[in-house]
C-alpha cells in the first residue's frame, strides 16, 4: 500500500464543504478519516486554523470518538458486532477466532496495514446475529468456525470489485 500522500487542497475542500463552521468540525474529521483512513496532523492544524478552534479541542475529539484514529487504519475494516443480541449468540467467540486468524488484537491493525479488526457497538441488524461487517459487506449468523471461509469470500468480492476499477 503506497504511503498515503496528504494533499492540503483536498483537506481545504472538505473544510469549505462544511463552510468552516466550528460546529461541524466532527463531520470534517469524518470526511478526512474516510479519505486517509486516519487523521493526519496537518489536517487537524488546517481545520483548527480555518474554524478558529484550538488544536487541543480537536485533539480531544480525535482521541474521544471511535470513528477516528491518529494512526493509519487497515485498508479493509473488519467489524465484529458486540451488541447484546450478538453477544448472547457467541460474538466473543467469533472475535477471538478472527483475532487468532489475523494474529492481531481487537482494535488493532495488521502489520501489513491490510486489515483493522475492531468490535463495534451495534450495527442494527440484530436478527442476523452474530454479525460481522467487512468494509460495507455484512455477513450474518457467523460462528467462530466459519471465520476463514468468510474471510476468503470477502477477498473474492474485493477482487471482483478490484477488477471493476473501484478505488
Amino acid at each position: 500500500m503506497a504511503q498515503l500522500k496528504i494533499e492540503p487542497e483536498k483537506i481545504d475542500a472538505i473544510i469549505s464543504k462544511w463552510n468552516s463552521d466550528a460546529e461541524f468540525t466532527i463531520e470534517m474529521m469524518q470526511d478526512v478519516q474516510d479519505l486517509y483512513r486516519h487523521l493526519p496532523r496537518q489536517a487537524l492544524m488546517r481545520i483548527s486554523k480555518a474554524t478558529k478552534t484550538d488544536l487541543g479541542r480537536l485533539y480531544h475529539i480525535a482521541t474521544f470518538y471511535k470513528a477516528f484514529s491518529l494512526e493509519p487504519r487497515g485498508e479493509h475494516s473488519i467489524q465484529v458486532c458486540m451488541g447484546t443480541a450478538c453477544h448472547v449468540k457467541g460474538a466473543t467467540r467469533v472475535m477471538d477466532a478472527l483475532a487468532r486468524t489475523l494474529d492481531v488484537e481487537p482494535g488493532k491493525t495488521t502489520p501489513d496495514l491490510k486489515y483493522t479488526l475492531e468490535g463495534v457497538r451495534c450495527l442494527g441488524c440484530c436478527s442476523l446475529a452474530p454479525v460481522v461487517a467487512m468494509d460495507d459487506e455484512i455477513f450474518s449468523h457467523v460462528d467462530s468456525s466459519m471465520v476463514t471461509r468468510v474471510m476468503r469470500r470477502h477477498e473474492r468480492t474485493m477482487r471482483e470489485r478490484g477488477e471493476e476499477g473501484d478505488a
Binding site: 463552521d21 466550528a22 460546529e23 461541524f24 468540525t25 466532527i26 463531520e27 474529521m29 469524518q30 474554524t51 478552534t53 479541542r57 480531544h60 475529539i61 474521544f64 470518538y65 471511535k66 470513528a67 477516528f68 458486540m82 451488541g83 447484546t84 443480541a85 453477544h87 448472547v88 449468540k89 457467541g90 467467540r93 477471538d96 477466532a97 487468532r100 463495534v120 457497538r121 451495534c122 450495527l123 442494527g124 441488524c125 440484530c126 436478527s127 442476523l128 446475529a129 454479525v131 460495507d136 455484512i138 455477513f139 450474518s140 460462528d143 467462530s144 468456525s145 466459519m146 471465520v147 476463514t148
Partner: protein, 626 residues
C-alpha cells in the same frame, strides 16, 4: 414537480393517491439494512428485469419499502394489495413471483411456515405481526421511503398542512400533545407536552431562539427501532419535528444520527432534499410565514452522546462530555439556548396524534393520562425483540403488554424450545428480569421497581446457555469503553466493577466481593454526573438480585452453571451424539480433537483453550459444556 402550498396541497395529494391505484398490484421489496445484507438488492433487480422481459409494467410495479419487521426471514417481498408475505426470496425466484402476482395467485413455495409447519399467506395473519398495533410502523411494507410523493399519498404532511391552514397557534398544539399523554420514547419517559411548554416559555421570556433536535444516536446495543423508522418512514420524523417547531416557535432543527447507520442517513438526507424541493421545508413552508429547516449532525461513535448534554456538546463540535443537568436543556440546551430534544420514535408519533386526536392516542396503553401524563403510559412502543427468541424483529405493541405476551405470544417463545433464563430491557442502563417477573407490564414505570426499566425498547431474550455473571461483565465492559471519563464515580467505579467481575468469572471471586459490588453500585447511582454512570450498575445489581445463585456458584464452587466463563468450563464430546463427521477438527486452533472418520472423537483437554469453535461447528450439538 410543482411546489406545494396551502392551496394546491390537497389536489396534489389526491393526484399521488390516484396514480398509486393506477397500477393494481405491486411487489414491495424490503430494503432495510438486514434484508439488504441478505441480498435484497439483487432480488429487486431480478424482479425489475423480469418485469421488462414480460412487459407487465402496467400491471405490476416493483417498489422499495422499509422494514417489514420480520427481519429474520430476509430478503422479504410483500405482494400488495393482497399483503402476501414471501420470505428468504432469491433472484432466481423472480420469474415465478412476477407470474403469480400478475395473475393474483400465491407462490406456495416461499410462503411463511410457522414452527409447526403451518403455512400463513398474509403478513397480517402471522401471529408475530397480527398481535402488533403499528402506529409508528404503520407504513412498513406499504410505503416507498425514497419517494416523497408516495409518502404524501399515504398521508404524510397532512397534519402540518391542516395546522398551517387553520393557523393553529403553538399553545394549542402543545395542549393537544399534552393531552395525548405522550412521554419520551428514548427511555427517559418525560412528558413531551411539558417539555415543549417550558422550552416555548423560556424562549419567549428570554427572547432567544429555540431549537428542535431529534436524538437518533440509538446507542443501546440490541436496539434498532430508530434506524428502522428513519429508513422506513423518514417523512414521519421530519413532519413530527416541523409540528414541534411550529409549537415552540423554532426555525432551526437538527437530527443527531449515528454514522454507523449509513442507509438511514442516506434515506433521511434525500427525504429532506425532496421536502425542500416540494416547498415543505425551508423558507415559508407551503407558502405560509412558517420557516423551518433541518440539518444533520453525524455522531462519530460514542454511546454517551445519547445523553442530552453530551449530544449537544457533540453538535457544538466538541468531545461528548456531559455537563450538570441541574438546569434542564429546555432552558439551556444546545448553544445554551432553549432546546426541545426528543427521540426518533417520539417525533414519529406526533403527526398521528394531530391527525387522529389526543384521545385516540390516550386510549392506547395503560393508566389514565387525562389528569396528568405522569400517571400513565399512553400510546404504543416499538421493541426490538432479539436474542434467543424464535422470531426476531421489530414489535410495535400498546404500552402495558406483559413481557410474557411479547416474548411468547408475539415472539414465538425461546429459540429451539430451550428454557428461558432472563429478559434484558433498557440496554446498559436497564436490568435482567428472570422468568418469575415475566408477567410485569412493560411501561415507563412498572419495571423500575423490579430493578430494570423499559428504556429505548431493546428486549433481549436469554436462554439457559447464558451466564448472568458474564452478562453483567459484558455490560460493565461495554460501559467502561463508553464512559467519557470525566467524573470519578463512573471512570473509576467501572474499572473497579470490571476488576471484581473479571476475578469472579475467572474463579478467583471472594465472598465479600458481592458487598463491594453493591457499594460501588450505590455510589455510582448517587455520585455519577450523568445517566450513563447513574444507571451503569443496574445490570450488575439486577443480576445480583435475581441470579445470586450463579454468583455463588462462581465464587464458592468455581463453577459456571451456564458453561460460558472460559476459565471454568471444559468441552467434552458426547460419544453417543458424535457421528465422526470431523467438521470440528479443521477449525480447532490447537488441533486437540482426534478420532477416526465416522467414529466418536475426543478432545485432549491438555491442549484445549476453551475457544468453543468446535461447539459452533458441530451440526449434531454433540459437544457438552460444563
Amino acid at each position: 414537480m410543482p411546489k406545494l402550498d396551502l392551496n394546491n396541497f390537497k389536489q396534489e395529494a389526491q393526484k399521488f393517491r390516484s396514480n398509486l391505484d393506477a397500477i393494481p398490484s405491486s411487489l414491495m421489496v424490503c430494503h432495510c439494512t438486514t434484508c439488504l445484507a441478505a441480498g435484497a438488492q439483487k432480488v429487486h433487480q431480478a424482479l425489475e428485469l423480469e418485469l421488462e422481459k414480460r412487459n407487465l409494467q402496467n400491471k405490476v410495479r416493483v417498489k422499495t419499502t422499509g422494514v417489514t419487521a420480520f427481519c429474520a426471514m430476509g430478503p422479504v417481498v410483500i405482494a400488495q394489495p393482497s399483503g402476501t408475505f414471501y420470505g428468504r426470496t432469491r433472484p432466481q425466484d423472480a420469474p415465478e413471483l412476477i407470474e403469480h402476482v400478475a395473475e393474483g395467485k400465491e407462490l406456495e413455495r416461499l410462503l411463511f411456515k410457522d414452527k409447526d409447519g403451518k403455512t400463513i399467506a398474509r403478513q397480517e395473519d402471522i401471529p408475530f405481526v397480527a398481535k402488533q398495533k403499528p402506529v409508528v410502523l404503520r407504513n412498513r411494507s406499504v410505503l416507498d421511503p425514497t419517494d416523497i410523493n408516495d409518502a404524501i399519498a399515504h398521508g404524510a404532511y397532512e397534519a402540518i398542512f391542516n395546522l398551517l391552514k387553520k393557523e393553529t397557534d403553538g399553545e394549542a398544539i402543545i395542549d393537544i400533545i399534552h393531552r395525548s399523554g405522550i412521554r419520551g420514547r428514548g427511555g427517559g419517559g418525560f412528558p413531551a407536552g411539558l417539555k415543549w411548554k417550558s422550552a416555548r416559555k423560556a424562549a419567549k421570556e428570554r427572547l432567544e431562539p429555540v431549537f428542535v433536535v431529534c436524538n437518533a444516536d440509538e446507542g443501546d446495543p440490541g436496539a434498532y427501532m430508530d434506524r428502522s423508522i428513519v429508513e422506513a418512514d423518514p417523512h414521519s420524523l421530519i413532519e413530527g419535528m416541523m409540528i414541534g417547531a411550529l409549537a415552540v416557535g423554532a426555525t432551526e432543527g437538527f437530527v443527531y444520527i449515528r454514522r454507523e447507520y449509513p442507509l438511514a442517513l442516506e434515506r433521511l438526507s434525500n427525504a429532506l432534499d425532496q421536502a425542500r424541493k416540494k416547498g415543505l421545508l425551508g423558507k415559508s413552508i407551503l407558502g405560509s410565514d412558517f420557516s423551518f429547516d433541518i440539518k444533520i449532525h453525524r455522531g462519530a461513535g460514542a454511546f454517551v452522546c445519547g445523553e442530552s448534554t453530551a449530544l449537544f456538546a457533540s453538535m457544538e463540535g466538541k468531545a461528548g462530555e456531559p455537563r450538570a443537568k441541574y438546569v434542564h436543556s429546555v432552558e439551556f440546551g444546545f448553544r445554551d439556548k432553549p432546546t426541545v430534544l426528543n427521540n426518533v420514535e417520539t417525533w414519529a408519533n406526533i403527526a398521528q396524534i394531530i391527525n387522529n386526536g389526543p384521545e385516540w392516542f390516550a386510549s392506547m396503553g395503560t393508566g389514565d393520562v387525562s389528569k396528568s401524563p405522569w400517571s400513565g403510559s399512553s400510546g404504543t412502543k416499538v421493541f426490538s425483540l432479539v436474542g434467543n427468541v424464535e422470531y426476531t424483529g421489530l414489535v410495535e405493541v400498546p404500552m402495558g403488554m406483559t413481557l410474557r405476551q411479547i416474548v411468547f405470544d408475539v415472539g414465538g417463545g425461546v429459540e429451539g424450545g430451550r428454557k428461558l433464563k432472563a429478559v434484558q430491557t433498557g440496554g446498559p442502563s436497564g436490568g435482567c428480569l428472570p422468568e418469575s417477573k415475566l408477567d410485569l407490564h412493560v411501561d415507563f414505570d412498572t419495571l423500575q421497581e423490579a430493578g430494570s426499566m423499559m428504556g429505548s425498547g431493546g428486549l433481549i431474550v436469554m436462554d439457559e446457555r447464558t451466564c448472568m455473571v458474564d452478562v453483567a461483565k459484558y455490560f460493565v465492559d461495554f460501559l467502561m469503553g463508553e464512559s467519557c471519563g470525566k467524573c470519578t464515580p463512573c471512570r473509576e467505579g467501572l474499572s473497579c466493577l470490571h476488576e471484581i467481575l473479571h476475578r469472579i468469572t475467572e474463579g478467583k471471586g471472594k465472598p465479600d466481593d458481592l458487598v463491594l459490588l453493591e457499594d460501588l453500585g450505590a455510589m455510582l447511582k448517587d455520585g455519577a454526573l450523568c445517566g450513563l454512570g447513574q444507571t451503569a450498575a443496574n445490570p450488575v445489581l439486577s443480576t445480583l438480585r435475581y441470579f445470586r445463585d450463579e454468583y455463588d456458584a462462581h465464587i464458592e464452587q468455581g463453577r459456571c452453571p451456564a458453561g460460558v466463563c472460559k476459565a471454568l468450563i471444559k468441552y467434552t464430546i458426547e460419544p453417543d451424539k458424535c457421528t465422526g463427521c470431523r467438521l470440528c477438527v479443521k477449525p480447532c486452533p490447537t488441533d486437540c480433537i482426534s478420532g477416526e472418520k465416522d467414529k466418536p472423537h475426543t478432545i485432549d483437554h491438555g491442549k484445549c483453550i476453551q475457544c468453543g469453535t468446535c461447539m459452533d461447528a458441530c451440526p449434531e450439538d454433540a459437544i457438552r459444556v460444563e
